[in-house]
């Protein structure tokens, strides 16, 4: 349960987690699959790239340790405060993932599985993944990512005859307000910043390589997905709520009339992995800020179970989801992980050097 992972495995997990949020949009979300989607994607990734820079500098300076662990080495009080903040955000991120997975499963080919089945089986798989540890989960992420690539190839090949390039046209600068709103919304879905910050100390060397790999791969995948939406659905794209699922529903590979079953399998696995990685990040935070040893492992298992179980709360109390959504898109995670924690870590590191 306490192993380390390679940077490639972590990058694959983060990329899968990022693409998962694109493919499993919730109905209340302001994500619009309009023509500005390309620009939104590029801009949000540029912001994400910029946001990672201070974090990467802090990680590099500390020789690969996570910034939280550097802060924890200097001040227990400060790290405790940061630990609580990050844990709450991770919990919201995990609950949102659980909600997305459930919504996705209940609105797609898995609608035959009752809620109880969903929570019991997904929960069992999640606890199993958390129990098996970071290393096993990140290796699984690489395999699921390979499955996603295969799915995209299948969809592309199946839909090749209906792709019309003339459906692409630039309308990006027509409505700057929408563009801004979309970009900020897109970026706010980026919980991977939190996960990376917590887990960067658990990467076998070269942890900084995770970020460019993850950002590059996710951006490319999102662009390809967007390209497919527009070239297949054209002006109808903004009307779709789950465009990638719809895309797979109209794919026919002869052997299967529709391949949305495979699509659903991939995203359910990706959802479980995203939850598992949130649990691993939580475990690291607990370990650095509160307690070490077996208690952190148990806390991760409890976190995983609670986050999936309480995802249903978002459905029962929509206002709770609004609070979580506002909190996550307020820029607080960005401020915390891109500015406050790296700055504190750098300051603590500098202070320690001076002290020694």
């Amino acid at each position: 349960m306490n192993g380390k992972t390679g940077y490639g495995g972590l990058a694959a997990a983060l990329a899968l987690s990022r693409i998962f949020t694109e493919a499993t949009a919730l109905p209340g979300e302001s994500v619009e699959y309009g023509m500005q989607r390309f620009t939104v994607t590029v801009m949000s990734f540029l912001i994400a790239g910029a946001a990672y820079i201070p974090l990467l500098i802090a990680v590099k300076r500390s020789g690969g340790s996570s910034p939280v662990s550097v802060i924890a080495g200097r001040s227990k009080l400060l790290s405790g405060f940061i630990g609580v903040l990050v844990s709450v955000m991770l919990l919201f991120c995990a609950m949102e993932t659980g909600l997305r997975s459930h919504y996705y499963a209940s609105s797609t080919v898995f609608d035959s599985a009752p809620s109880l089945y969903f929570y019991v089986f997904t929960g069992a798989a999640l606890l199993f993944a958390v129990h098996k540890g970071l290393e096993a989960s990140s290796r699984t992420a690489v395999i699921v990512s390979a499955g996603l690539v295969l799915l995209m190839l299948l969809i592309s090949a199946a839909l090749l005859p209906v792709i019309r390039l003339n459906r692409l046209y630039p309308s990006l600068t027509d409505d700057p307000g929408t563009l801004y709103a979309q970009t900020s919304r897109e970026f706010s879905l980026n919980c991977e910043l939190l996960i990376f910050m917590a887990l960067c100390g658990r990467v076998n060397g070269r942890s900084c390589r995770t970020v460019p790999l993850y950002l590059g791969v996710s951006c490319l995948a999102l662009m390809i997905m967007t390209f497919l939406y527009f070239t297949v659905f054209g002006r109808l794209t903004p009307l779709l709520s789950l465009p990638f699922y719809t895309l797979s529903s109209v794919s026919d590979i002869t052997l299967l009339h529709r391949i949305n079953g495979i699509d659903a399998m991939i995203w359910v696995m990706a959802g479980i992995l995203r939850l598992a990685f949130a649990a691993f990040a939580f475990r690291e935070i607990v370990r650095e800020c509160f307690t070490r040893g077996k208690a952190a492992d148990v806390a991760a298992l409890v976190f995983a179970a609670v986050s999936l179980g309480s995802a249903e709360l978002f459905t029962v109390y929509p206002e709770l989801y609004s609070i979580s959504s506002r909190m996550m898109s307020s820029g607080m995670p960005l401020l915390l992980t891109a500015v406050i924690i790296p700055s504190l870590a750098l300051a603590c590191g500098a202070g320690k050097e001076k002290g020694t």
Binding site: V109, S112, Y117, K132, E135, V142, G261, A264
Partner: protein, 485 residues
């Protein structure tokens, strides 16, 4: 310890052997001194014993003159006996160990040590083609039960000091000889760790290499990160990649570690074919593995829960076939799979001539009758049959494939694609969690290694492969220092 009194020594040795009836004692008077030759029935070669021991002793004559026991013993060990293997023994336990291993021991009255001469000659099976790992091109030699024959089969393929053997005896009761083999390129820490683990084996009886396998691997309910092969050429190629091999006396299966999951899809023939053909065959094997474990479960899931995913024309045919059968899809699938497993198990244990009869009864009689009697649908029979035949392609993990297929039938049949997804995810996590001495079982797929791709799904040509030495540790995310489990 042995004493100068021959009678006392014999009494001690008999006591150690609990008066076992296979102890053979031959008394003789040599140069006026009483001598006893001890051997174990069935462990020695009578001709060797006669030519190498009895004849030289008899040529010394019975008259002693001024011969002393010490001088006679020195003459026997130093001048008289010509044998490739000889050693002094100083205790009753050493004497018993030696004779159990095919030596004969000569004890001289009045001298407190014996001399053991290697005259091994037990019956062994000759080197034949392996039963389980057949190939089209390449050697027709397989390992046999005798350790020394197996060692020679390995040495004949690597006539270089880079290959070293470390002999050991394990098993408190069986005292089985084993041999740890490694090339110079193998990780020293890995070899030392394997030797340490073998030295501390808690087993009393070791009859097969499979007995020691669990002590060398991480616990996993299905897969093993220790490989077993009957082929010396495969074994040598694994050693060349930096792995550690273990030969066990009495077993024709040699062990090597660490083993990777992807190796289940690689055969020796891949390296004798053109790379393009090797690529094709390897892809077929991967596809066969996926078909073998998923197809019946996938079919049950689609037919039960998601018929909209099946093409219309096919769906109509399937519906027509299934409407004639009395059982649910899941029940049909489970019954057929259990039938198949029963026939497979019966076919495995039966003599080959009876095995053919089982195949005919199973394949033609049951297969045909169950469909024509309307007990199961033909599409379901087809799905299970294709899956079963596909399972034979990856014979090294045939048992695991059968088990997984059954699990996926239940998951898909009871909970549809959702159940199949969760089961596949858990299998994936479980397999990914396995590693052996720091090498992930799923590498080089995950963690991904671009360099290793030249010999994974595809197989580069020999010119490209020969540019760098193969190394099991040469993979992304694998650290040679990380051998602590």
């Amino acid at each position: 310890m042995l004493v100068e009194d021959l009678t006392g020594n014999i009494v001690n040795i008999r006591a150690v052997m609990k008066n076992s009836s296979d102890l053979i004692l031959k008394y003789a008077k040599v140069c006026g001194i009483e001598v006893c030759v001890l051997s174990c029935d069935g462990q020695t070669d009578a001709n060797k014993l006669a030519n190498l021991v009895y004849r030289p002793l008899s040529e010394l004559g019975t008259d002693g003159g001024d011969m002393t026991p010490g001088r006679l013993a020195a003459m026997i060990s130093g001048e008289l006996l010509i044998a490739c293997d000889g050693k002094s023994v100083c205790s009753a336990e050493d004497v018993v160990n030696a004779i159990m291993n095919g030596f004969c021991v000569i004890l001289v009255n009045g001298f407190d040590a014996g001399y053991a001469v290697g005259v091994q000659g037990f019956q062994t099976r000759s080197v034949t083609q392996p039963e389980n790992h057949r190939n089209i091109r390449g050697a027709r030699e397989g390992f046999v039960e005798a350790l020394h024959t197996n060692m020679s089969l390995v040495r004949r393929r690597v006539r270089s000091p880079e290959l070293t053997f470390t002999a050991m005896t394990v098993g408190k009761t069986s005292k089985t000889e084993i041999c740890v083999c490694r090339m110079e390129s193998a990780d020293k820490a890995l070899t030392d760790k394997v030797i340490r683990q073998l030295e501390t084996l808690p087993l009393s009886l070791i009859l097969e290499s499979g007995y020691i396998q669990p002590f060398l691997e991480k616990k996993h309910p299905l897969f093993s990160a220790v490989g077993a092969t009957e082929r010396p050429d495969v074994f040598v190629s694994k050693l060349y990649e930096g792995r550690v091999g273990i030969l066990v006396d009495g077993s024709p299966f040699a062990l090597y570690l660490p083993k990777l999951f992807a190796e289940n899809f690689m055969m020796l023939d891949d390296y004798t074919e053109k790379p393009l053909l090797a690529l094709f065959v390897r892809l077929i094997r991967w596809a066969a593995f996926l078909i073998a474990i998923f197809l019946p479960g996938f079919y049950a899931a689609l037919a039960n829960f998601h018929p909209e995913l099946i093409p219309d024309a096919l769906l109509r045919n399937l519906a027509a076939a299934e409407s004639l059968t009395p059982y649910s899809i899941l029940t049909e699938c489970v019954i057929l799979d259990i039938f198949y497993e029963i026939m497979r198990e019966a076919g495995l244990r039966l003599p080959s001539n009876v095995g053919h009869a089982v195949s005919i009864v199973g394949g033609i009689v049951i297969g045909d009758i169950v469909v024509s009697a309307g007990l199961v649908g033909a599409p379901m029979l087809l799905a299970v049959a294709i899956a079963s035949i596909s399972g034979y392609i990856v014979s090294d993990i045939g048992e695991q494939v059968s088990f997984l297929r059954f699990g996926f039938i239940l998951a898909g049949g009871l909970f549809g694609l959702f159940g199949l997804t969760v089961a596949a995810f858990m299998l994936c996590v479980s397999v990914c969690s396995l590693d052996s001495y720091g090498v992930p079982f799923t590498s080089p797929l995950s963690p991904f290694s671009r360099k290793s791709m030249r010999d994974l799904l595809t197989r580069s040509g020999w010119i490209a492969l020969s540019r760098s030495e193969p190394d099991i540790y040469d993979m992304n995310g694998v650290d040679r220092q990380r051998d602590e489990r």
